[in-house]
Symmetry: C2
Subunit: 190 residues, 2 copies
DNA sequence: ACGCCTGATGTCATTCGGTGTCATCACCTA
DNA sequence: TAGGTGATGACACCGAATGACATCAGGCGT
C-alpha cells in the first residue's frame, strides 16, 4: 500500500500537474490526483489548502528570496539597484531543471481563470514583500510602491521570456534586461 | 410571492452585501442571500457566475470608461496625460451615493482572501484594457505596460483615500493628485 | 375573452471542493 | 514487547455550482 512511501507532497504535485496537462484543470478531480499519487482525497487537503495550491509550491521561498535580496544590497543603492540585486539573487533558483516544470505549468495556469486569480494573489504578496523590504531601507512612499510594482513587472517579463519555447538565455540576464527596459520606459511617460 | 417583482439583480446584490456585513462572507450561504431577496439559490446563479461575483457589478463599465477615456484624449497627449484624462472620465461615476456602498463593500472584500483574489483579477482586466487603449494610441512597449500599471496604481490609491472614513474630497481631485505623486516618484528610482 | 408563446423562476438531482471526526497503521522508543 | 506518536484512511457532512425539467406571469394575436 502507498502508506508510508515518502515524498507524498511531491507525488501529489507531480500527479496533479500531469493530470492537469492531460485533461485540463476543471476535468480533474482531487480524488483522481490523490489516487494517482497513491493517496486519498483527505490526505491531499492535509498538504494543500485547496485544489489550486498544488500548483503554487515554493512561492514563499520566492518571496523570501526577493525580500532578502533587497535587504542584502549595499546601503547606498538606489531602489532600482536594490530590486536588481534581488532579481540576481532570485535568478539562482531558476535553473535548467526548473525550466521544464515551468514550461509544463504555465499553459495550465494560463488556461484557467481560477488559477490566474491565485497567481495574481501570489504576485500581490510578492509585491507586498518587496514593498516592505524596500521600506526597511528607508525608501519612502510612493517611491517604494512604484519600485516594488516595477520590480514585479520586470520579474514577470523575464519569467515569461525565460519560459518561451525557443529561448536559451539565462533568467538572470533576462531579468536585468527587463528591469533596464522598464527604467528607460519611465522617461517616456510624459 | 417574489416572482415577477422587478430588480432581482439589485435585490440580490443588496441582500448579499448586507448579509456579508452582518455575518461575514464565509458564514453566509447563497441560499440565504436568495431567500432574503425573495428568490432561490438557482436564480442567484442565473444572475451571477459565482458567489463572489455578486460584489463586483459594474466592473465592465469601469473598464469601458477607462478605455474610452484614454481613447478620447487629444492625439498629442503623453501616456500620463491620457491616463489622467481617463481618471477624469472615470471620476464621473464615483459620486456621493456610491460612496456609502463602497464604504460598506470595502471591509467585506478586505476580510476575505477569495474576494481579494477576485478583486485582483478585475484589476488585471482593467490594466489590460488600459494597456490596449494606450497601445491603440501608438504607445509602444514597454511604455504602455508601465503607463497602464501606474494608472491602475493611481486609481487604487485614489479610491482608497476616497473611501477613507473622514475624507470629503472628490474622487477626481484625489486621482489627479495620486497620479502626480507617482510621476514624481519615477524620478527617485535610480 | 381565449389561447399561445416566451422569458424568468422554481424544483429536483447530482457532482465536486472542502472539512470535521474518528479509526487505523507504521515506526520509534523505553 | 507495549505504548506513544504522527501520518493516513474511512466516513459523514456542508455548501458551491450546474444540468434538466416543470411552472408561472405577462405580452400578443385572434
Amino acid at each position: 500500500m502507498g502508506r508510508w512511501e515518502p515524498n507524498a507532497r511531491e507525488r501529489l504535485e507531480r500527479a496533479a500537474l500531469d493530470l492537469f496537462t492531460e485533461r485540463g484543470y476543471d476535468q480533474t478531480t482531487v480524488a483522481e490526483i490523490a489516487e494517482r499519487a497513491g493517496l486519498t482525497k483527505r490526505t491531499f487537503f492535509r498538504y494543500f489548502a485547496d485544489k489550486r495550491e498544488v500548483l503554487f509550491g515554493g512561492q514563499e521561498e520566492l518571496t523570501r528570496l526577493f525580500s532578502e535580496g533587497i535587504a542584502g544590497t549595499p546601503a547606498g543603492a538606489t531602489p532600482f539597484q536594490a530590486v536588481g540585486g534581488a532579481l540576481d539573487a532570485v535568478a539562482a533558483v531558476f535553473t535548467g531543471e526548473r525550466l521544464a516544470l515551468a514550461r509544463q505549468r504555465q499553459p495550465v495556469v494560463a488556461a484557467n481563470s481560477d488559477l490566474l486569480e491565485r497567481e495574481l494573489l501570489k504576485r500581490a504578496k510578492l509585491v507586498a514583500g518587496m514593498h516592505d523590504a524596500l521600506a526597511a531601507r528607508g525608501v519612502g512612499e510612493p517611491t517604494v510602491t512604484v519600485a516594488a510594482e516595477l520590480g514585479c513587472l520586470a520579474f514577470g517579463t523575464a519569467f515569461h521570456r525565460w519560459v518561451e519555447a525557443d529561448n536559451r538565455r539565462e533568467f538572470g540576464a533576462l531579468a536585468v534586461e527587463a528591469l533596464d527596459e522598464l527604467r528607460a520606459a519611465t522617461a517616456d511617460l510624459g
